[in-house]
């Protein structure tokens, strides 16, 4: 497979690929390369931050936590979530299970939660990782049973006498069918079927019979004593469901410009078994996935930007808080989606401010540049802290591994470096412009390439 196709595949299906690995695979054919991608993600390595501190807190306070202890727990959780964020980002840059990690990130923006409890969050995140390439039915059911989701969409409050429709609504609107493919009545009836789906303090799923509505429900024209699983099965029978998910996958992995024929192709594959690996395999094998109009025409998310840079020049923030600041400036803090619909993505990533930050970022992170930032206070911030912040012209504390870069690209040509960093099919103006760069050091050259607007695309 040609080098440029390998890079395209890995930028979309993973987070990039090292030069040596890409070179190695370039002697294999398309089928082999795609199989490699899937084979290396056949295992699941859970991602965890140590939570001994929390365990000790519970052990020392059997029964109920006091108010102070609860506050303490929140504080530990906040710190741990930040740690998880960092670990997750680096995982994406370093993992061999590239496709699995990409799918995990994809599903977190499909089954969106915001969760302040690290134990619940971690469990949710690893559940998605585990099911990322599995069966869609299984993943939806697992999602519905996670504490993070039960909390976020209020199913914890969904009881026979007082149904809460939040989860049922989003299940159909955002997770399976899309707006307009169900009625308000369907939402009400589905909500009844999910009554009593709860979690205990530890975060384990429990079914509370006492508050479950065992009565007859009429959902999408069918009547029965449906439970949550039954509702989902009826949803999966709708041909719209496979289409909806295929469209979402297409616009995330291929292009925001919708091609109905290609999506219908994907949907007909997906409808058979709702097998996620199968639809992804079909898509990455399709010749249209490698169309010249598709390659290099997707706007990178901030996460893609950071992780993609890491693949070329590994770097680490010395202070986790600074990583969070940079994510915030770019408009995507992992673990902090804007709302239940997640980040809209595409052109929505780009405004004047994020564009300027993006163009400056390579020299800031990799070349000791200075960035001006003064991030809005969190809601918890006290006023004095808000006033204290003086971050203008601050230097970020980042350690970058140029030795890795130099070793990797020692033998590459400048033309190859252009293709790896900016992609193939460059505009002739761009070609002419980067042709004017001094070619004294590949490192300097690379930073300039990364500071091009073209670098925002993948």
């Amino acid at each position: 497979m040609e080098l440029e196709r390998i890079y395209h595949l890995y930028k979309r299906a993973g987070f990039g690929i090292t030069y040596s690995e890409a070179k190695k695979q370039s002697s294999e054919n398309k089928k082999q390369v795609i199989n490699n991608l899937f084979n290396s993600s056949s295992q699941t390595s859970p991602l965890n931050v140590p939570i001994d501190e929390i365990k000790t807190l519970f052990k020392n306070n059997p029964g109920k936590l006091s108010k102070d202890n609860k506050m303490h727990l929140r504080k530990i959780s906040r710190r741990k979530l930040l740690e998880f964020n960092r670990k997750w980002l680096y995982r994406m840059g370093e993992t061999d299970e590239a496709l699995r990690e990409r799918m995990t990130l994809f599903w977190t923006n499909h089954f969106v939660v915001r969760e302040r409890n690290i134990i619940y969050f971690q469990s949710f995140n690893n559940m998605l990782r585990q099911n990322a390439l599995g069966n869609f039915r299984e993943i939806v059911i697992a999602v519905a049973k996670e504490a993070a989701m039960l909390n976020y969409l209020n199913n914890q409050q969904n009881r026979k006498k007082k149904p809460n429709e939040n989860f049922a609504r989003e299940l159909m609107e955002l997770f399976t069918l899309g707006e307009g493919h169900y009625s308000e009545k369907d939402i009400q009836e589905a909500a009844r079927a999910f009554t009593g789906w709860r979690h205990n303090f530890k975060g384990d799923f429990v079914f509370n019979k006492k508050i479950h509505d065992f009565g007859s429900k009429t959902f999408m024209g069918r009547t029965g004593n449906f439970n949550g699983e039954d509702i989902l099965d009826i949803i999966l029978e709708q041909s719209q469901c496979a289409y909806f998910i295929s469209k979402k996958i297409y616009s995330y992995f291929v292009s925001e410009k919708i091609d109905k024929n290609h999506i219908e192709e994907l949907a007909s594959v997906f409808r058979k078994n709702y097998d996620i690996a199968e639809i992804m395999h079909y898509m990455f094998s399709a010749e249209w996935f490698y169309d010249k109009k598709i390659m290099g025409n997707k706007i990178k998310s901030p996460t893609d930007l950071l992780v993609g840079m890491m693949q070329i020049v590994p770097f680490k923030f010395k202070k986790t808080k600074e990583l969070a600041y940079v994510q915030k400036l770019l408009g995507q803090q992992l673990l902090n989606p804007p709302n239940v619909a997640g980040w809209p993505g595409g052109r929505k990533w780009i405004d004047s401010n994020t564009m300027l930050v993006r163009l400056k970022l390579p020299s800031v992170l990799l070349n000791n540049g200075i960035i001006s930032f003064d991030v809005k206070g969190e809601f918890e911030d006290s006023l004095s802290e808000f006033n204290k912040k003086k971050n203008v012209g601050k230097k970020l504390d980042v350690e970058s591994d140029w030795n890795f870069f130099n070793a990797q690209f020692k033998k590459s040509s400048y033309a190859e470096l252009n293709m790896i960093v900016l992609g193939a099919n460059l505009h002739e103006d761009t070609e002419a412009f980067i042709d004017s760069f001094e070619k004294e050091s590949k490192a300097d050259y690379c930073i300039q390439l990364m500071s091009m607007p073209e670098y925002q695309l993948c």
Partner: protein, 396 residues
């Protein structure tokens, strides 16, 4: 890594900024489309406790629910025999006494959401609590009316949802010079110079170049236009005071920008509310008073309206930590020289008629306020900006 080499190789920018013709056209169109009225929006982020701000000091229910945090009559700045302002609001009260303030009580929306993020979204996008909009209401104003990023400025370093449109986003800056300098970095300038018109017509790449060029020309416009004027008025020396001073400088130097947005955070007072809110309200009151007086002094207050909101109010009943939890409807302030209904716009919230969570129920939908301001103040057709029919109020 030779940093010096990089700077050298990134070249010297020629002084001329390449701006494609289609972008230049905006400047000429501008004056005929837009008036000179200004709208300044301030969010008290975190959910300010409206009940302890505008205090119903004769209401028994208030005192019963707030045993340790109720504001006592003797501490308040009394307005009438029902209502008093929090003691920190003395300068704000002067503005009120001069007839420059309208206070709207019980502002909210149906099925209120008690999450900061979601509720802030709702206020910023002007959506209902059941729909998720991907553009902010000021962003939609940029799309359909201003058609230029400089039409709205957020005095901050990051752009909020409120100023994001479908096609056009506003500009965020606290420091026009810094923003301008960033866009003027030699390498950046050189990259943009290298682009040609046909480049800009391309799919996503064109969008990236256009945004960068917009950033550059907007930053240059804001900087050039504002560098000659510096406010001499004295503002409180804190971040919020500085932000309002910047807004005043933007307005008074004649920027064509019509909408400004800024926020003051820290209002999430779950514990030990008394001192925290006291400091916050005092910061607000002093900065806003300096701001109004500065504008008055410069003769621009008559063309400015200031809207202050919070994403929600606090629960009526205090919690065990001497604080309050997330609530629902809340008071909204409007300031200006020619208000139609200065004073209290409507009666204080009924504390007998709370919702199932024990929160104040809404009487005025916040989108009625937006619609009224767009329609009556900015003389704009609201239908493309706010969806749904919201009865206009007699405000401006």
């Amino acid at each position: 890594m030779k940093r010096r080499t990089f700077i050298k190789s990134s070249g010297l920018a020629s002084g001329v900024l390449f701006v494609p013709n289609f972008l230049k056209a905006h400047d000429q169109l501008w004056p005929s489309i837009l008036g000179h009225k200004k709208l300044v929006i301030i969010q008290l982020a975190g959910g300010n406790d409206g009940l302890n701000t505008i205090v119903p000091y004769t209401n028994d229910v208030y005192f019963k629910n707030r045993v340790s945090i109720a504001q006592k009559k003797q501490d308040l700045l009394l307005l009438n025999d029902e209502i008093g302002f929090h003691a920190s609001l003395s300068k704000f009260k002067n503005l009120f006494d001069d007839g420059y303030v309208t206070i709207m009580n019980s502002v909210g929306y149906p099925n209120p959401v008690r999450s900061h993020f979601r509720s802030t979204d709702i206020w910023q996008t002007a959506s209902s609590s059941k729909e998720i909009l991907k553009t902010g209401w000021v962003g939609r104003y940029l799309d359909s009316v201003a058609k230029d990023p400089v039409g709205a400025i957020e005095v901050d370093d990051m752009l909020s949802m409120m100023l994001k449109g479908e096609k056009i986003n506003g500009i965020a800056t606290k420091n026009a010079k810094l923003l301008y300098n960033t866009t003027r970095e030699p390498y950046f300038a050189k990259v943009l110079e290298s682009s040609q018109d046909k480049h800009l017509n391309e799919h996503n790449l064109g969008y990236l170049y256009k945004t960068a060029i917009d950033a550059k020309s907007s930053a240059a416009y804001i900087f050039e236009k504002t560098k000659v004027y510096k406010s001499t008025w004295e503002y409180p020396k804190n971040a919020f005071g500085k932000q309002l001073k910047t807004v005043s400088e933007f307005i008074n130097s004649g920027l064509k920008t019509q909408i400004y947005y800024t926020s003051l955070s820290g209002f999430d007072t779950h514990a030990n509310q008394i001192n925290a809110q006291k400091r916050l309200l005092s910061t607000y009151s002093e900065a806003i008073s300096a701001f109004v007086n500065d504008l008055k002094h410069m003769g621009t207050f008559k063309d400015t309206v200031i809207l202050t909101f919070s994403e929600f109010g606090r629960r009526v009943k205090q919690n065990a930590a001497n604080g309050t939890d997330h609530g629902a409807a809340n008071a909204v302030f409007l300031m200006g020289e020619n208000l139609k209904s200065p004073g209290m716009y409507n009666a204080p919230p009924s504390l007998m008629d709370l919702d199932e969570n024990g929160d104040i129920t809404y009487e005025i939908d916040f989108r009625q306020i937006y619609s009224s301001l767009l329609d009556k103040w900015l003389q704009t057709n609201t239908t493309e900006i706010i969806s749904g029919n919201f009865e206009p109020l007699n405000l401006v």
